[in-house]
């Protein structure tokens, strides 16, 4: 089964192949990436089939496990390795399938872009990292893949880096997730100090024996990392801005897979959280707040992609709720269903944006008649998101509520239902704004078949996967029951009520399609929500401004003090040098120049003798002769 190792290596190879090419060659070689991911998908399905039918035993004892040492530090060896168990097998299929759909879709979506080759290269690297993360058999490798994904996310958000907004968004995303990553890293250090290993077996096997404080600390630090990656309140602020990137990339990264990495981390580290106990409650609390905040904020966005972004935050909150209730499988279940229907919605949003050339829903309307396939698939995705039977979201959300009720978290269940209500409301709002009402633009057109095919595939999965829930539960070694009629009835009722409210507010013919009525009726709440609950503002004032202020204070100190010392030393030195210069000029140079001048003067005097007139020489000779003779005569 060593082909499992090749799954992440295939897209990585595609990246390495595309990387050194020229832009033109790269643009025409994108099929390499598509082929690589298609092969990875086939291998993933094989791996999944090999693990099937899974079960609890396989969850404890991986079907395939191989590790390779990468470094020796003192006595300890650092390994990286791959491990195939039911969780990773399921994730492999989800990730490769969504990535394949996104890559096929992107051929059409990005075909007019001049840097499509680079886009595919980064997409491949991202997929490779996600697959490596899923297959990791230790926390260190997971962390490495995690960081590569952070980089790819940065690159893809800032893909259109000639514009201001994507640039800012990419930096924001990178820094915000980095805040979480620091927590993750410290958690890893603490884990290594405690256990002396990063291996899942060693760490998770001994987690129950750790001091409770250590387990809580490690769990909370890992949670902090997961919160950054999975956009949980209060580290969610990067995800809405990340919508500045290309829409298919948003579908893959900011909806289906990368943000799921945080959830996957907690699923993997579940024994640590269970050993702590308190940490699980924190996860639950974070999930509840996030689910509610995300759903509320999604209800006031005008940008179609931002609605979906906040929706993603909210749904990730749902996954955290499930994990906080102690059910890793319910979280994974929702992760998988969400991956399909949210990437479907994003791909649909891409078609809509292409049709309208805007992302502002206020300028949209009446789409249903012109884009039938998109409308149908988007409807499937929307109903799944709202939690309507029989689409996938219904099953997994129901499972989460069921877990909450079963464990007695009634208040949490109520909040989850409230979030579900808001979800249905904003889904209805989006739907009626975009697909019904008067047509706002001319020349609406359906997308090309190559873009519709992935959407149809995802829609079919979304429609059908719910019926496989119990089987998936068995695969994970856990019982996912058929929905309890009472709970299913309540949650469906809540969802329908939300949809009806959305229809009442936005879908009726009599309603004028603007936000003025809503603003008048709930001005205070609307204002608060449209300011994103002041999160960005708070960060601006609490973190960014003080930091900039402190930095400029330090800069001023630098200028006033440090620079002064330096320049003072410099000028003192220059003064000393001035004295030395005087000595040089007058004594040393003076001596040399004086000698030269003396020689010059002497030469000037001497040359006057040398008149060039032969007769003056004769006179000298004569005078000298006479003098000599006189001398001889007088001596003699």
């Amino acid at each position: 089964m060593s082909y499992v190792t090749a799954i992440p290596l295939l897209p990585a190879a595609a990246f390495l192949l595309l990387l050194p090419l020229s832009r033109k060659a790269r643009n025409s070689a994108i099929w390499v990436a598509v082929v690589a991911i298609a092969m990875a998908f086939v291998l993933s399905v094989m791996a999944f089939a090999a693990v099937w039918p899974g079960g609890a035993d396989l969850a404890k004892e991986p079907a395939y496990h191989a590790s390779f040492p990468i470094a020796v530090v003192g006595d300890s060896t650092i390994d990286i390795g791959v491990m195939l168990d039911p969780f990773s097998a399921a994730m492999l299929v989800v990730v490769t399938l969504v990535a394949l759909c996104v890559q096929l879709y992107s051929i059409g979506y990005m075909h007019r872009d001049g840097r499509i080759g680079w886009y595919y290269a980064v997409l491949s690297l991202f997929t490779a990292a996600m697959l490596a993360l899923v297959l990791a058999d230790n926390f260190l490798m997971l962390y490495l893949a995690w960081e590569i994904m952070g980089l790819c996310s940065y690159l893809l958000i800032g893909y259109w880096h000639e514009q201001e907004a994507p640039r800012r968004a990419s930096i924001k995303a990178f820094l915000t997730t980095r805040v979480g990553d620091v927590g993750f890293a410290i958690g890893l250090f603490l884990m290594y100090v405690t256990v002396g290993s990063f291996e899942f077996d060693a760490v998770l096997g001994s987690a129950a024996d750790w001091a409770p404080g250590v387990a809580t600390a490690v769990a909370l630090l890992l949670l902090f990392g997961a919160m950054g990656k999975s956009a949980q309140v209060p580290l969610h602020v990067w995800l809405p801005d990340a919508m500045a990137g290309p829409t298919p990339a948003s579908a893959l990264i900011h909806a289906a897979t990368m943000v799921a990495a945080g959830v996957y981390l907690i699923v993997r580290a579940m024994p640590i959280f269970e050993a702590s106990g308190i940490a699980l409650h924190v996860v639950l609390g974070v999930g509840l707040v996030t689910a509610l905040v995300g759903a509320l904020l999604a209800a006031v966005q005008h940008d179609i992609k931002k609605v979906l972004a906040y929706s993603t935050i909210s749904q990730l909150g749902y996954m955290f709720i499930a994990l906080g209730a102690g059910s890793a499988v319910a979280g994974m279940y929702h992760l998988i269903t969400h991956a399909f229907f949210k990437s479907l919605l994003f791909l649909g949003a891409g078609v809509i944006i292409h049709a309208y050339h805007t992302q502002d829903m206020r300028q949209m309307g009446g789409l249903a008649r012109f884009l039938p396939v998109t409308t149908a698939t988007f409807a499937v995705g929307s109903l799944a998101l709202a939690g309507i039977f029989p689409f996938s979201g219904f099953w997994s959300k129901d499972e989460i509520v069921l877990v909450l009720v079963k464990d007695g978290y009634y208040i949490a269940a109520a909040i989850a239902l409230l979030a579900a209500f808001m979800t249905a409301f904003y889904v209805a709002r989006l739907w009626f704004r975009v697909f019904t009402g008067p047509r706002q633009t001319e020349g609406l057109h359906e997308a090309h078949r190559s873009m519709l095919a992935p959407m149809v595939l995802l829609a079919l999965i979304t429609a059908g996967i719910g019926f496989g829930g119990p089987a998936l539960g068995d695969f994970f070694g856990y019982k996912i029951p058929w929905p309890d009629p009472a709970i299913a009835g309540v949650s469906s009722g809540v969802a329908v009520a939300g949809l009806l409210l959305g229809w009442w507010a936005y879908g009726r013919r009599s309603v004028v399609l603007n936000t003025r009525t809503l603003k008048m009726r709930a001005g205070f709440i609307y204002g608060m929500l449209s300011q994103k609950l002041y999160f960005d503002l708070a960060y601006e004032y609490l973190a960014i401004r003080p930091f900039v202020k402190a930095a400029s204070g330090l800069a001023a100190f630098d200028l006033a003090r440090v620079d002064k010392i330096v320049t003072g030393a410099g000028s003192a030195w220059s003064r000393i040098a001035g004295i030395s210069e005087l000595f040089d000029r007058h004594v040393v140079d003076g001596g040399v120049n004086g000698m030269a001048r003396g020689a010059w003067v002497l030469g000037r005097k001497a040359r006057s003798i040398q008149s060039g007139r032969i007769q003056s020489y004769q006179r000298f000779a004569l005078a000298s002769l006479i003098l000599l003779l006189m001398l001889v005569v007088m001596k003699g």
């Binding site: 040398q610 007769q615 004569l622």
Partner: protein, 103 residues
């Protein structure tokens, strides 16, 4: 009356002085050459006179005088050739104007 050695020496000295004066003070190169000839002739006369009056049996002075005449002839030939060459270059044989060798 016999003309004694002193008379010859006196004439020779007068000739030499005239030649010396001319050589030092004449502006024309031709005149300077002629003055140099005059000095050479004065010396030749001196030598012949000494030979005649001091050692009459030997002819040393006469031989020297003849040598000197030959040398003078050669010298004047060379000198006049130089003067012609200088004239061609400088369009003048005025010695004071020839000062290109000035230091």
């Amino acid at each position: 009356m016999t003309i004694g050695l002193e008379a010859f020496l006196g004439l020779s000295a007068v000739l030499f002085a005239l030649g010396l004066y001319g050589a030092v003070s004449k502006r024309s190169a031709v005149m300077v050459l002629m003055s140099l000839e005059l000095m050479a002739v004065a010396i030749s006369l001196n030598m012949v006179a000494f030979s005649r009056f001091v050692t009459p049996e030997k002819m040393t002075g006469q031989f020297f005088a003849i040598f000197s005449m030959v040398v003078s002839a050669a010298e004047i030939g060379l000198g006049l050739a130089l003067v012609v060459a200088i004239y061609r270059r400088a369009r003048s044989i005025e010695l004071p104007s020839l000062e290109r060798l000035k230091g």
